[in-house]
Point group: C2
Chain length 445, copies 2
């Protein structure tokens, strides 16, 4: 054998050693060595390589928790669950005496009949990747049948699959590491579920070179990292319209600098101050330095009770030289229940999500005053849409006879060619009420 | 030769005699026998088969007129004209002492630089087939060059060609017969045109079996016969919505019969009476018995000074049980100059041709209060257009969010789902002012 041939064989053997994915089983198949039970008192059994959790009345959620912590990993396992049960697999999770009395909290790979493979933030933020984010993955689970599961947690990227169907594609940065845990959910006093079981087998983890084994996901990505653009968003053309820290890219609508008062930036939040409810009487509106033509604009906003604000587009800051807000089409932001403007205008055309004073919404958009809500504006030439929390609430075509006739009836009747500009600035309104903004992103089309 | 062969030859010879088109020359090429001169004193010469008319200052139009009259015929001739002149060939024309002091009047095949081959009603109705009716035929003439002309006058059908290009396609019934005449137009005191010439040659006429020699025309047809559907219109799906004589197909908007008062039918005109300017206070509106969905509706209307009326569509006569007009979208008919409603509403949305109280016109549509004007409404599902005298003045899409928002601002805000019905009755409005209607036609789409 020539030396060259020996070299080839050596490289081949080495590559087999170096590059084959290394899997470590999390269960020895005989007992629960390496695991511990937390919170509830439901029973976990192990037999012939299968861990089985037995549902039990009148005990809280019970978790079988790994003694080790894991950060970046690929986890695979098989699972099977009886009908009507709820279960899950925690990862990067924790239990601390000083947090919710030691209840297990963190990422959970959901297992139930509706939305298996979705990711829920147990005892913390709730749904991170809600079932409706990926309709293709809803109702993937069949009770009493073994399913293959895969979880990839690599840096901020969290992705799941069931039977090779992509379920979750999440970009989140809250907890980089923690234990893995199998859940037996509480069943209260439901006798019908008492004694039913969920089972796992072939639980194995890869923690080395995980980035190279990451899989592309067909599930739409959700980015929960505040004021960030994920790699997938960046590749899709999204950019931050506000960096989350500075005033860069923004200025006062009627001045060349950012307002000295009335706005603050704090903990990733852009905040309009309360100043008595007047229109642009305190710091005044702020606008993007640049103009935008065709785009998808996304803004998360949270209002205080009774607040009024708005997001305007096609804004020409030079039009209105007098008092009040700069002129443009407005995605209305309002506490419809407490602010009197909701009752003014015509047939609801000044309510939240409406094209202000022109077109009322057709849907309430699942608005929740206690949380951040998402406003999206889509502009493609003359076609414009407003979405509230992903639900289309307004749709119209501008630059036509009917648009002009509608404007002629509105507050904007005296602004020449209102709403027909090919491009304009984007504006956040100071209406003298405290409103919070974050995650301001734009994709130009 | 067999008998059978002889028979074939006989049939062949006979067919040549029976079916060959018979042409009769109108000029012997040597003198003007069979012609006479009328009206002006310009000179006509004949030499080598060419008749030449010489333009002359300070004389009215001069006509070289055939002594014979012709009814149905096909006329062909060649003509050539110097630059800057206006000429023509009269047909089915007349000269009577008791009409305009004997001036020649009737159909004229126009010869000029702009609109040769168009048909003008000399000394009577003016343009019957105006140049803009057939843009393809505008500026067909080159000065100083021989052109071939063809006129087909068969029953109501009058068609012309120049050099095989279809120029006029007219359906008219005013005068069935008359002379043919060559025109030398007056030139006033224009010295530059004095002595210039127009020439004709090879003038020939066919008066037997003319129907079988009629040619299809690519020019769009104009039907000037009042309250009629031409064969071409019928083939294209047009129907009379009013027969010009009876109340058939119409009823009062709020009663099951035609109104006993307030409307009369006289000489092919459907007339609303003057009754003090009130809305449906006299005879009341009338509606079609049938409903219509997708259609082109054409109505000729003539208003009296200060008058108000309208043509409504998508009308539901059962909606408004109270006083006033029935509810539907309205092609507004108004004397904008004298009726106060023109100044009311918003930015002109109650003026003539507007979609009443909703969308103002973008064009005055060449309205002439002294004449009949044409209102056209085109409905194709949710797309609607108003045309005034053939010019688009309003265009909109109904059954969408912007439409509903516009309606919400208007007089119609309280009628549920206004303007969104798939079909409805067509209405002529009694607004207490005298207005005339005729040529009410519909083509369902």
């Amino acid at each position: 054998m020539q030396n060259r041939h020996i070299l080839f064989i050596l490289v081949f053997l080495l590559s087999g050693t170096l590059f084959a994915q290394e899997w470590t089983p999390l269960c020895n198949g005989k007992n629960l060595k390496g695991w511990k039970k937390l919170n509830g008192s439901a029973e976990f059994k192990v037999k012939d390589g299968v861990i089985t959790g037995v549902y039990k009345m009148n005990t809280p959620n019970t978790f079988l928790v790994t003694e080790n912590n894991y950060g970046d990993f690929i986890l695979e396992f098989d699972f099977k669950i009886d009908e009507g049960l709820n279960s899950g697999v925690q990862f990067r999770s924790q239990s601390r005496k000083d947090y919710h009395k030691g209840k297990v909290y963190g990422y959970q790979f959901e297992i139930d009949g509706q939305c298996s493979g979705s990711v829920y933030d147990e005892e913390r933020r709730g749904w991170l990747y809600p079932p409706n984010a990926n309709p293709a993955a809803i109702k993937t689970l069949k009770s009493g049948v073994w399913h293959k599961a895969r979880i990839e947690a690599v840096g901020n990227s969290i992705r799941t699959w069931i039977n090779d169907l992509a379920c979750t594609n999440l970009w989140d940065d809250m907890t980089p590491e923690g234990f893995i845990a199998l859940q037996v959910h509480s069943i209260g006093n439901n006798k019908d579920l008492n004694g039913k079981t969920v089972s796992w087998k072939d639980i194995r983890i890869c923690t080395t070179n995980v980035a190279q084994y990451q899989t592309n996901s067909t599930a739409p990505e959700i980015n929960t990292v505040v004021n960030s653009i994920s790699p997938a968003e960046a590749a899709d053309g999204w950019k931050l319209l506000w960096d989350g820290k500075t005033t860069e890219g923004w200025r006062g609508a009627k001045i060349n600098a950012f307002p000295q008062k009335g706005w603050t930036i704090e903990n990733g939040i852009l905040k309009v101050h309360k100043s008595g409810g007047g229109e642009s009487t305190n710091g005044g509106d702020i606008v993007t330095v640049r103009k935008y033509r065709n785009f998808i604009l996304k803004v998360d906003f949270k209002i205080t009770p009774g607040a009024n604000s708005g997001i305007k587009y096609f804004v020409n800051p030079d039009l209105n030289k007098g008092e009040g807000s700069a002129i443009g089409c407005e995605f209305q932001i309002l506490d419809d229940k407490k602010h009197p403007d909701a009752k003014l205008g015509v047939k609801g055309n000044r309510t939240l999500g409406s094209l202000y004073d022109l077109i009322p919404t057709i849907n309430s958009g699942n608005f929740n005053i206690n949380e951040f809500n998402n406003a999206t504006v889509v502009v493609m030439d003359n076609h414009v849409e407003h979405l509230l929390n992903g639900i289309k609430v307004v749709e119209y075509e501008r630059n036509n006879q009917m648009w002009n006739a509608l404007v002629a009836y509105s507050k904007y009747k005296d602004w020449p060619d209102f709403g027909n500009a090919a491009e304009g600035h984007i504006l956040l309104q100071d209406h003298g009420d405290e409103v919070w903004f974050k995650n301001i992103k734009i994709k130009e089309l």
